[in-house]
């Protein structure tokens, strides 16, 4: 029963709007705080990696952005599926709010990956399976946003892009697998594999905290964007009048 009342609340725009407004400062504050602590831990407290020296510190920005770019897509697809199956408008609004955030983080993951690649591989771009998958993910985001922009009717755009998001999320594991397969065929002589150095605790905790910080940050930004989407979509003005005055 309890889950059902929650489900119904999340279907109601005024309730979600109020919830978002109440919680954004707390979640955002927690995100900011943990980000600062994790930065200090990662840049100052953590010792050098014995192979990569200080270059390994880029893991504290590359790994969270890369992880977030995937997680945002998954969140978007789940929201889209909920919107399609239960015809829930709030879920469609949430999916719409996810896309630009995810695309930006994909760009950040690609950029930081390239900057990390230069000292490690000797080139800004190497067709590494993870970077390549990240690039394809960026194209998936572009397609999603392009489809949304291409359909004028809001309800229609919601549903069509939701189908695309679900198809995309089914495809992502296949894409990752195919890219790894492809990479194994053409082994490029890389100086060093990125990621997964044997980490001691002083290196690990800032990373884990950074993951948490980015997840909280995403939640806060999503709630802000969700409010904007709800205001734009809602036709029944009575609650909007209430929240705006």
């Amino acid at each position: 029963m309890a889950t059902w009342t929650w489900f119904h609340r999340f279907g109601s725009p005024p309730w979600v709007y109020g919830f978002a407004r109440r919680w954004t400062p707390w979640i955002g504050g927690a995100a900011g705080l943990s980000m600062l602590v994790a930065l200090y831990g990662g840049l100052v407290l953590a010792p050098d990696d014995y192979q990569q020296k200080d270059a390994f510190r880029m893991v504290y920005v590359h790994a969270p952005t890369a992880w977030l770019s995937m997680m945002v897509y998954t969140t978007m697809a789940v929201a889209a599926a909920v919107g399609l199956i239960w015809r829930m408008k709030v879920a469609h609004a949430a999916a719409a709010a996810c896309a630009p955030v995810g695309a930006w983080f994909t760009v950040a993951a690609l950029g930081t990956g390239m900057l990390w690649g230069k000292p490690m591989w000797g080139a800004y771009w190497v067709w590494d399976p993870r970077l390549t998958a990240e690039l394809v993910l960026l194209f998936l985001y572009f397609g999603y946003m392009g489809l949304r922009a291409g359909i004028e009717d809001q309800a229609k755009a919601d549903k069509a892009s939701a189908v695309l998001a679900v198809v995309g999320v089914v495809n992502i594991p296949i894409i990752k697998y195919s890219v790894e397969w492809w990479n194994s065929l053409h082994q490029t002589p890389t100086v060093m594999k990125m990621g997964k150095p044997a980490m001691d605790t002083a290196m690990l905790w800032p990373l884990l905290l950074m993951f948490l910080a980015f997840a909280l940050y995403f939640a806060a930004v999503l709630l802000i964007r969700l409010r904007a989407e709800l205001l734009r979509r809602e036709r029944n003005a009575s609650w909007i009048r209430e929240v705006l005055t």
Binding site: L84, V136, L137, F139, L140, F142, G143, G146, L147, G150, I151, E152, D153, A155, K156, K159, A160, V163, L164, V166, V167, G168, V170, N171, I174, I175, Y177, S178, V179, W181, W182, L185
Partner: protein, 226 residues
């Protein structure tokens, strides 16, 4: 008496084949496009056969992908414009099944001819004669998977303005695995290795596509008709 499932598929296929043969230019254009792309590579890269042979899988697959994108635009668009697609959706038959029949016909009319004509382009790229059957087989199977994936994007772009570019934007990322495995199969054929491993993977994608893509395409078409 309500028409049976197989008869529905037969009617859809017969209709689309008949329509295609009344307008053969639409059928030939993607093929010619493919041939031109394959010709441009030696002109821009090198006439040296050994180097072309290295590039051949890429040229064949990118060419096949681009020409299948051209053909995909017509998969649902004409039927949506003249209102017949609406009648598909209102026939009381499974739209998923009818679109599957349509997609298979589309492959028969575009993917299969392209695969069959690929040896002509392949000879010019220095592909040895012994590899031709494998090249045809990989392009035929990969083309089928491409048609299935493309049917989803073709359905999704029905409701959009400027569908053409958008169709490519949606299809290309989804087509990455097909391209990877397909090009690998062609590569192995050229070097004389066993093509079975990538062909199995292509087959797996095609099977997954057969089960899921028509469902997604039907959902997309219903949304597009709104």
């Amino acid at each position: 008496m309500k028409t049976g499932t197989l008869e529905v598929a037969r009617l859809v296929m017969a209709r689309d084949l008949r329509l295609a043969f009344r307008k053969p230019s639409q059928l030939l254009q993607p093929l010619m496009f493919f041939m031109i792309v394959a010709t441009l590579f030696p002109l821009t890269l090198t006439p040296e056969m050994s180097r072309l042979r290295d590039a051949a899988p890429g040229v064949l697959w990118v060419g096949a992908l681009l020409s299948s994108l051209l053909a995909l635009e017509f998969l649902f668009r004409d039927d949506a414009q003249d209102g017949t697609l609406e009648q598909f959706a209102l026939s009381g038959q499974s739209l998923t099944w009818m679109l599957f029949a349509k997609t298979c016909t589309h492959w028969l009319l575009t993917g299969l001819p392209l695969a069959l004509s690929a040896p002509v382009a392949a000879v010019g790229l220095g592909v040895p004669a012994s590899a031709m059957w494998s090249v045809v087989a990989s392009l035929a199977l990969g083309g089928f998977a491409l048609s299935l994936v493309g049917a989803i994007s073709a359905g999704l772009t029905l409701g959009a303005r400027r569908g053409g570019v958008l169709l490519s934007l949606l299809t290309l990322p989804l087509a990455v695995p097909i391209l990877v495995f397909g090009a690998d199969a062609t590569q192995r054929a050229i070097t004389g290795d066993a093509i079975a491993p990538p062909m199995y993977l292509l087959g797996a994608i095609a099977v997954l596509g057969v089960t899921l893509a028509p469902l997604a395409a039907a959902a997309a078409v219903r949304i597009g008709l709104e």
